[in-house]
């Protein structure tokens, strides 16, 4: 029985899924005004950066937690109503989402660390997160572009993923429902 797939998503898995989704969308949304704000609004800019970095690091922590749960507990079997081709596609998208949830925050961390404006990273505005590397304008120029591009890819993939979830839900498959509440 232990080798069998669980009947449904555990409560922790469901909570972590929705918390991660919410934080990613929130962090993505504030990234744009944060970068666009002019320097005569430094306080607001600073607070948005700290919020963005705090959110992103939280996503990273939640990912590690989720990843550990997933490796230990696994996932429920694909819904029987899902054509095998779509299940394979969904599996690939889930893997890509996991990878991006790891890579985007890590790149964000190095973007912050190499930025020519040496602003510290303060988790929740109070806990200093050491920067492993120092200012490096050339690296920063590359990192910020890759961080942004992969963040856009992450959110675009998640949007497609969510659209499919809603699509299947409307077709009556209990896929969204079992991610939303406990499987009886």
């Amino acid at each position: 029985m232990l080798a069998e797939a669980p009947a449904g998503w555990s409560r922790a898995q469901r909570r972590l899924h929705w918390w991660s989704a919410g934080l990613i969308l929130g962090g993505f949304a504030i990234a744009w005004p944060m970068v666009a704000l002019p320097l005569d609004q430094l306080l607001a800019k600073f607070l948005l950066y700290q919020a963005h970095k705090t959110i992103g690091l939280t996503v990273l922590a939640l990912l590690l937690w989720r990843g550990a749960l997933r490796l230990r507990r696994g996932r429920p079997a694909w819904d029987a109503g899902l054509p095998p081709g779509q299940a394979r596609l969904a599996g690939a998208v889930h893997l890509a989402l996991y990878a991006l949830m790891l890579v985007v925050p890590v790149l964000g961390y190095f973007t912050a660390a190499t930025a020519p404006a040496q602003v510290p990273t303060l988790f929740l505005l109070v806990i200093p997160v050491p920067h492993a590397v120092g200012a490096d304008p050339a690296a920063f120029g590359v990192l910020r572009v890759v961080h942004r591009a992969l963040a856009i890819l992450l959110v675009a993939l998640a949007a497609g993923h969510a659209a499919m979830a809603v699509h299947h839900h409307r077709k009556g498959l209990p896929i969204l429902a079992r991610m939303w509440r406990a499987t009886p």
Binding site: L39, D40, L42, L43, F46, A115, P116, A117, Q118, V119, P120, L122, L125, A135
Partner: protein
């Protein structure tokens, strides 16, 4: 004598002069080594620092009355530099140094007061953004050694001070940028020490 040498260096401190100074003369000194640095604080959480790349100084040394030493420094405000160029260009803009209207800032000493071994207070007037206020700088001789050239010595000075930028009309962004600005000037002076033989 060490004190007199320190006093000579004092002048240099503000100038970071690479030109040897000799008593009883006036020197126009271009900055070669020195560094005029400043630092502001943000929310008590961290700070940022910058420097001025271009400044010139004139020193008048009176060897018999070192306390009559005069220091005058002119700083090119447009030469302000920070690690982040966007921040430096912000500092050049009207709410900060307003370099288009005030291309120079000036410090002119009025009095030099010995405060202990190798320590001096330099009282003077700072003109910034067209506003003049008194400012006291604290100078310390932190190192003195032969330069390798006969009759010359290298003296290193650290000069510190603190001003309130609002007094000079620089009131922008008080929520994020502290009113207090810490100054730190590192200077190196090449002194002729032939007269020191005694």
């Amino acid at each position: 004598m060490r004190r007199a040498v320190a006093m000579l260096g004092l002048l240099a401190l503000l100038l970071g002069g690479g030109v040897p100074a000799r008593a009883g003369e006036t020197y126009d000194i271009d900055q070669t080594y020195g560094d005029i640095g400043f630092k502001v604080h943000h929310l008590g959480l961290f700070s940022s620092a910058g420097t001025f790349r271009r400044f010139t100084g004139r020193i008048t040394i009176d060897q018999t009355h070192p306390e009559n030493t005069r220091v005058a420094v002119v700083i090119r405000t447009a030469s302000v530099a920070m690690d982040w160029e966007n921040a430096a260009s912000m500092l050049r803009s009207a709410p900060y140094f307003d370099v288009a209207r005030y291309p120079d800032a000036r410090f002119t000493s009025t009095r030099v007061i010995p405060r202990g071994p190798d320590r001096y207070d330099v009282e003077g007037l700072l003109e910034l953004r067209g506003v003049t206020h008194s400012l006291v700088l604290h100078a310390a001789l932190v190192g003195q050694r032969p330069s390798g050239v006969a009759g010359q010595e290298i003296a290193d000075f650290v000069v510190t001070g603190r001003l309130r930028r609002s007094m000079f009309g620089m009131t922008a962004d008080p929520a994020f940028i502290s009113d207090a600005v810490d100054l730190r000037i590192d200077a190196r002076l090449r002194l002729y020490v032939a007269a020191r033989a005694g």
